[in-house]
């Protein structure tokens, strides 16, 4: 039983990260209606930026603060310089573009940081673990759970409770109406992409001390992000959060009994759900 609780705890921790990724991707695909295949690469660059900035400044917290904004800026640039011209281009070209970006980013990582993976340890106060009774758990992972959870809540509050968040949600529902109401739809798109990139960046930054850094670290995350979005319903932000946590927990619980299948299970669950409910668990469209 202890093992199960321990795994569920793991699942919530990874699930929070999946939720962050899914939330960012759902925002981008929902508002801009493009398949962002660079989302995993943004995650990876976020992790590398954290390692570099923290290493340079000698302070993990500053790195955690700064690095995701770097990714947000990157997202801003990507949207403004490239994605912006592709709204009418058709999904195949949007896909080609974002995938090309992903290649540029991941090869760029190798050019800047080398092909060899390395580790980045958590800050000293977060090293070691605590005895939770049913399991001995690393402090850093508890921090990630809390931090990611906080971010998810903050993002949700922004989207639900602020005016700009409402505009964004309206943009997901009906772009024409939003622009007819006099809102600059281009600015909306840019902000949405930047916010989505920020979420990917901070997910990567939080992950760096857990998984270490390697150039291909974004690839698996990309697939999982898509599953989260497909399960949560495209553009359904609350759905993405719920789906992310659900998948994280499902993966961890399966790992307790059949560890080799734990990753495949994510996709199997998605296939099963979509067979029964094509709009995803929470989607309405």
């Amino acid at each position: 039983m202890n093992l199960l609780f321990g795994q569920i705890l793991n699942g919530i921790a990874t699930g929070m990260l999946y939720a962050l990724m899914g939330l960012g991707l759902s925002l981008i695909t929902g508002v801009l209606n493009i398949p962002n295949f660079a989302h995993g690469a943004l995650f990876a660059v976020g992790a590398y930026l954290l390692a570099t900035v923290s290493g340079y400044l000698g302070n993990f917290w500053l790195g955690l603060l700064i690095a995701p904004f770097g990714i947000a800026l990157l997202g801003l640039a990507i949207e403004y310089l490239g994605v912006r011209r592709l709204y009418a281009a058709g999904h195949d070209y949007q896909l080609l573009f974002t995938f090309g970006l992903a290649l540029i980013l991941s090869e760029g990582i190798i050019l800047v940081w080398g092909p060899v993976g390395f580790s980045h340890l958590p800050p000293p106060i977060l090293r070691g673990g605590v005895d939770l009774g049913f399991t001995f758990y690393p402090k850093y992972r508890l921090f990630v759970m809390a931090a990611a959870g906080l971010l998810v809540v903050l993002t949700y509050l922004f989207l639900e409770k602020t005016k700009y968040g409402a505009i964004m949600r309206a943009g997901i529902e009906n772009k024409e109406m939003v622009s007819l109401l006099g809102i600059d739809i281009h600015k909306l798109f840019t902000v949405a992409f930047a916010l989505g990139a920020y979420l990917a960046g901070i997910a990567g930054a939080l992950t760096a001390p857990i998984r270490g850094l390697s150039p291909g670290m974004g690839v698996d995350m990309l697939g999982i992000a898509f599953v989260v979005v497909a399960l949560g319903g495209l553009g359904n932000l609350l759905g993405a959060i719920a789906a992310g946590i659900l998948i994280g927990v499902a993966q961890a619980v399966v790992a307790a009994y059949w560890i080799e299948a734990s990753t495949a299970v994510i996709f199997a669950v998605m296939a099963l759900v979509l067979l029964v409910r094509p709009q995803g668990l929470f989607g309405i469209r």
Binding site: P35, G82, D92, L95, G100, G223, A230, A264, L274, P278
Partner: protein, 311 residues
Amino acid sequence: MKNPLLLVLISIVLLPLAVRPAIASEIWIFAIFGLGLNLLLGYTGLLSFGQGTFFGSAAYVAGWLLKYYGINVFLALGVGMGVGALSALAVGYLCVQRSGLYFIMLTFALNQLFYFVAYQWTSVTGGEDGMPGVPRPAMLGIDFSSPLVYYAFVSAIFLLSLLLMKRIVESPLGKILVAIRENEVRAGAVGFHVPRFKLLAFVIGGAFSGLAGVLYAMLFGIVPLESISFVTSGNVVFATLIGGSGSLYGPIIGSVVFIWLSESMSNVWARWPLLLGVAFVIVVLFFRGGVVEAWDRLFSRRKISPSRSAH
């Protein structure tokens, strides 16, 4: 172009003079793969980002039979097409219900499912290590193990595939698929059962992909895990888009460009995928129609009317 088929024939003859037979074979194999994808992408307007599923599944099953049951080469091809078609039926059934981004994401995610199953089912697929030792058994006195002989074989299959695909797209079926691409609702209103036709396109595309998969396995004597990964799925999409999805021959040009570049660049600069990424970005921003359209623009005096509407 007066006679593109003639150009293809000339290329088939000339190619082994320019590159090793193995690379030349790979180019035509990838072209078959691209033809299958383009039935979905260019003609039906379905961006399937999971063709690797069918390519890889066919390669594994046929590879297994070739290796352990000593089936002959033609039976292997048949098995490949069958497995490709069947897996496409399964995946297609799940996917044709959805459209737009959902469809793309679904094909991608299902590809991942197949990938991870192949990864874990190590007793059959070899998992990470792949399935080496796939033979090219001689048949009817033909020794397929010689690279040039195999190239001739691959070229023949490619030509047949091209002619078959030409027939399909010029047939009423092809017209219906184009109609679905242009306006799905109208096509449905006119009386065509759209999901069924989409599924049919999937199955045919899957069969072509499976054929390519088996030829690939026999070419390299191994079914690597990558053959069922999304990287393979992505590569065929990119090659097709670069060649130009608006024409029957686009995927062929795309395959030539893509495979040739990959093979020659990878020894020159290890980071060459970065250039590939840059190429994608440039193609999207400036050369939407791919090589085919660029060629037209550069060499034609007449104004080209778009062969497909924006979607």
